[in-house]
């Protein structure tokens, strides 16, 4: 090994500065080791890092930062919950949106205007994510999951220019925007859908299938049905349930899908620590809509605006980040910080 220690003080500082390009998790594990290799490979009395080394370090650091890694998934709890969510959320969206479209086709075929067409597009967007998730193709799943969100951005931009016609379409795809944001977070911050598939057992798949029905009943994708009765999405849920279950549209049945969704979330929350995390994830997916249904049920008037959904998505992501960062701060004990004293 060549003696790279000559003039190494300045060189070492410069290499340390370059290593700051790497994420802290990577630096904690490989930082000292990389520094040792860089200094060992240095020429005698070298004071500046090689240009080729600088380019290589920065390029590798950027690649590592772009890698889907367990940024939020430090600790098995959140990582596993996000992994399961990354599989379950697109499936839930796919099944519930297909139920909605089926309901629209049966009961309101005349309403297939731009809004229903957009719902269909969103449906295909979700359908696109599902196979990638099932085959554990995480990168492609991230791309597919991001499409509804990007699509909505384009529509929203168009709405600013063109006006009302597109505005309707923008309103009807807000829901997938939230799902899109949450799915991208779950896919990129968890160990991946492969882990989710590994963790999911028969009863989880069954629960997913059952939960899709009330989720569909609450879905804003049923919006075209609202002309039948005032209020969204409660009346749509009612219409859908009445026809699907053969129930009379009387009092208590208004609340059936709402109660079912809340019951599923509560059951998750109570089942285990992992279940609690799942309840938080699914609750944030359903949150704005549950809130609106509740407000409408008690006679209030709320409409889901794009700003509301975007703000909610941002708040949820921020909350996850804070939660997980706090958890990581606690866990990162002296074992991970096993740094070697290099005389600095």
């Amino acid at each position: 090994m060549p003696d790279g220690r000559a003039g190494s003080g300045r060189l070492e500082r410069r290499y340390r500065r370059l290593l700051r390009w790497y994420p802290p998790e990577h630096r904690n594990v490989h930082g000292d080791e990389m520094l040792a290799v860089l200094l060992a490979a240095a020429r005698a009395a070298q004071e500046k890092p090689d240009r080729a080394d600088v380019a290589d370090l920065i390029a590798a650091a950027v690649r590592i930062r772009l890698r889907p890694r367990g940024a939020l998934s430090d600790g098995p709890g959140w990582g596993d919950a996000l992994a399961v969510f990354s599989v379950a959320a697109p499936l839930l969206m796919l099944v519930s949106t297909s139920l909605c479209l089926w309901a629209i086709d049966i009961w309101a075929p005349a309403s297939s205007g731009p809004v229903a067409d957009v719902s269909r597009l969103v449906f295909f967007g979700q359908a696109l994510v599902v196979p990638f998730v099932l085959f554990n193709a995480r990168h492609w799943a991230v791309v597919a999951a991001a499409i509804p969100g990007l699509f909505w951005l384009v529509l929203a931009a168009l709405a600013l220019v063109v006006g009302r016609f597109v505005q309707g379409a923008v309103d009807s795809v807000e829901y997938p925007v939230l799902a899109s944001v949450l799915e991208v977070v779950a896919l990129s911050a968890s160990p991946g859908p492969g882990r989710g598939l590994q963790l999911m057992r028969g009863r989880h798949w069954a629960l997913l299938g059952v939960a899709a029905v009330p989720a569909a009943a609450l879905s804003p994708v049923l919006a075209p049905l609202q002309s039948a009765q005032a209020g969204l999405p409660l009346s749509a849920a009612l219409l859908w349930l009445r026809a699907a279950l053969g129930l009379a549209p009387a009092g208590v049945f208004f609340a059936i899908p709402l109660v079912l969704v809340l019951a599923v979330l509560l059951g998750m929350w109570l089942s285990s620590a992992a279940g609690k995390r799942m309840a938080v994830l699914f609750g944030s997916l359903a949150g704005p809509y549950l809130a609106i249904v509740l407000v409408q049920h008690f006679g209030g008037a709320v409409s889901v605006t794009p700003v509301f959904v975007a703000a909610f998505a941002a708040a949820v992501v921020a909350a996850y980040t804070v939660l997980v960062a706090a958890g990581r701060g606690r866990r990162r004990g002296p074992a991970v910080r096993r740094r070697i004293d290099t005389g600095r």
Partner: protein, 136 residues
């Protein structure tokens, strides 16, 4: 609904040093051909445990000077390979107040390198045969 397919790739054994597994890569490293740096790193470790600088020097030697790994590329590859369960930390030393961490091939890494070698050999034999090279 279809029961969950069990992914054999996510069956990475819990490491003795879980903190070295930064990225939990379930992605198709076991299906796609290995990239050249990864192949050369595994080849270097096939002879026995080796530290970072040792791997760098060995890779240059194995590739007869054609491939010169730099620290960034080397550690990105080491991180990826250890996440995929192909290598693990063997031991650590402090030399001249500097950390030296030795890596070794895991059985999964050895299998992967064997499979990759067979694939390359078959391709090379086919090419040599069609080109009418002597050692076909």
């Amino acid at each position: 609904m279809r029961p969950a397919p069990r992914s054999p790739r996510s069956r990475v054994a819990p490491s003795l040093f879980p903190m070295y597994r930064l990225a939990v890569y379930n992605k198709g490293m076991s299906i796609r051909p290995l990239q050249e740096p990864a192949f050369l790193i595994l080849t270097s470790l096939a002879a026995g445990p080796q530290h970072g600088y040792g791997i760098m020097a060995d890779v240059t030697k194995i590739s007869t000077g054609r491939v010169r790994l730099r620290a960034g590329t080397l550690y990105a590859a080491l991180d990826r390979l250890s996440s995929a369960g192909m290598l693990d930390v063997d031991h650590e030393e402090i030399v001249d107040a500097r950390l030296r961490r030795y890596y070794r091939l895991t059985p999964a890494g050895r299998d992967r390198l064997t499979a990759e070698t067979a694939r390359l050999r078959a391709n090379a034999a086919a090419a040599a045969g069609r080109l009418g090279l002597a050692d076909a």
